[in-house]
């Protein structure tokens, strides 16, 4: 018999610290699969955020940095400028990238920095206990929006893929989800494409991945994938927002 599914080679065989059902694990795996398929584990250099996924540096078997909160794109820029033939990626949550790291991501994109950003949007600050994120949906209850997010107090959710697409330096921008196998496949393709665009030096690439956080959503993992499907996707439409000319 032939293995039709097994752990990617560049994905270390250690238990992950995530909560049961947390889809960070799936997204990690997709990155590792891409590294395998593009045969670039020797050139890949990853930058971990501060957030639940901070320990990604332990899980993926390439050189890694742990960046300060929100600054992964700046760290990646420093790395890429020194190692122009490296394949440099960041992996960031929505607190990390869409809040404290707004300036860094906007300007990495504006510079057309040749890096790939995997942006995990789970609509909360998970690691610190489920506070409102910039991506939290209207009406969503979090530990800092006990009565649900209201526009008067907290404004409106930020659509990063849409916003970064307005910048001339961004090259490939998409939004995908990993709440079911079909979408996982699409997510994989998009992540791979982003890396390929980077390897052709076509500029800044980002894949926004909708992800669940059962723990802070106060739902079971099964309920969570449903919630994502029914609530997040309508506000955060999936698809490719920007594609370079000939890819």
């Amino acid at each position: 018999m032939k293995k039709v599914f097994t752990r990617p080679e560049s994905f270390n065989d250690i238990p992950m610290h995530y909560c049961p059902g947390c889809t960070h694990g799936i997204i990690h795996r997709l990155v590792a699969e891409t590294i395998d398929e593009l045969n670039m584990v020797d050139r890949a250099i990853g930058v971990a955020p501060v957030g639940c996924s901070v320990f990604i540096y332990n899980y993926i078997d390439c050189d890694m940095y742990q960046a300060s909160h929100g600054r992964a794109p700046a760290v990646a820029t420093g790395v890429k400028r020194v190692v122009p033939d490296g394949v440099v990626f960041t992996y960031q949550g929505d607190g990390d990238m869409a809040a404290i790291g707004t300036a860094e991501i906007v300007h990495a994109a504006a510079r057309g920095e040749n890096i790939t950003v995997i942006f995990v949007n789970n609509a909360v600050y998970a690691m610190t206990g489920g506070q409102m994120a910039p991506t939290t949906l209207m009406g969503q209850k979090t530990t800092t929006t006990p009565h649900g997010r209201e526009s008067d107090a907290n404004g409106y959710p930020v659509k990063m893929a849409e916003m970064l697409s307005t910048l001339d330096g961004s090259s490939y921008i998409s939004r995908v989800s990993v709440h079911d196998p079909k979408n996982i496949n699409k997510a994989k393709k998009s992540i791979k494409k982003a890396f390929e665009v980077q390897m052709e030096n076509k500029g800044f690439t980002m894949v926004e991945v909708l992800s669940i956080c059962p723990t802070n959503w106060g739902l079971s993992p099964k309920e969570s994938v449903k919630w994502l499907d029914e609530n997040m996707i309508p506000y955060y439409p999936l698809g490719e927002y920007k594609v370079p000319a000939e890819v």
Binding site: K2, T6, G25, K222, V225
Partner: protein, 73 residues
Amino acid sequence: MARVTFREERCKGCELCTLVCPKGLITMSEHINSMGFHPATITDMDKCNGCALCARMCPDLVIEVERDEKKVV
């Protein structure tokens, strides 16, 4: 012919795999593993077609899937 293997001690009992098996073959065990979770398991291996949707859905790489060569599409 296909085979799914569960690495029980890594399973966190999230049940996402049960959601996606097109044949509804996966259930949660009665017993708990060393982390205190009820691990997933397959009820009727014969019915499994090796589609690997369960494995692709599992966030913790608990599941490996093998399949007869000829069946590969």
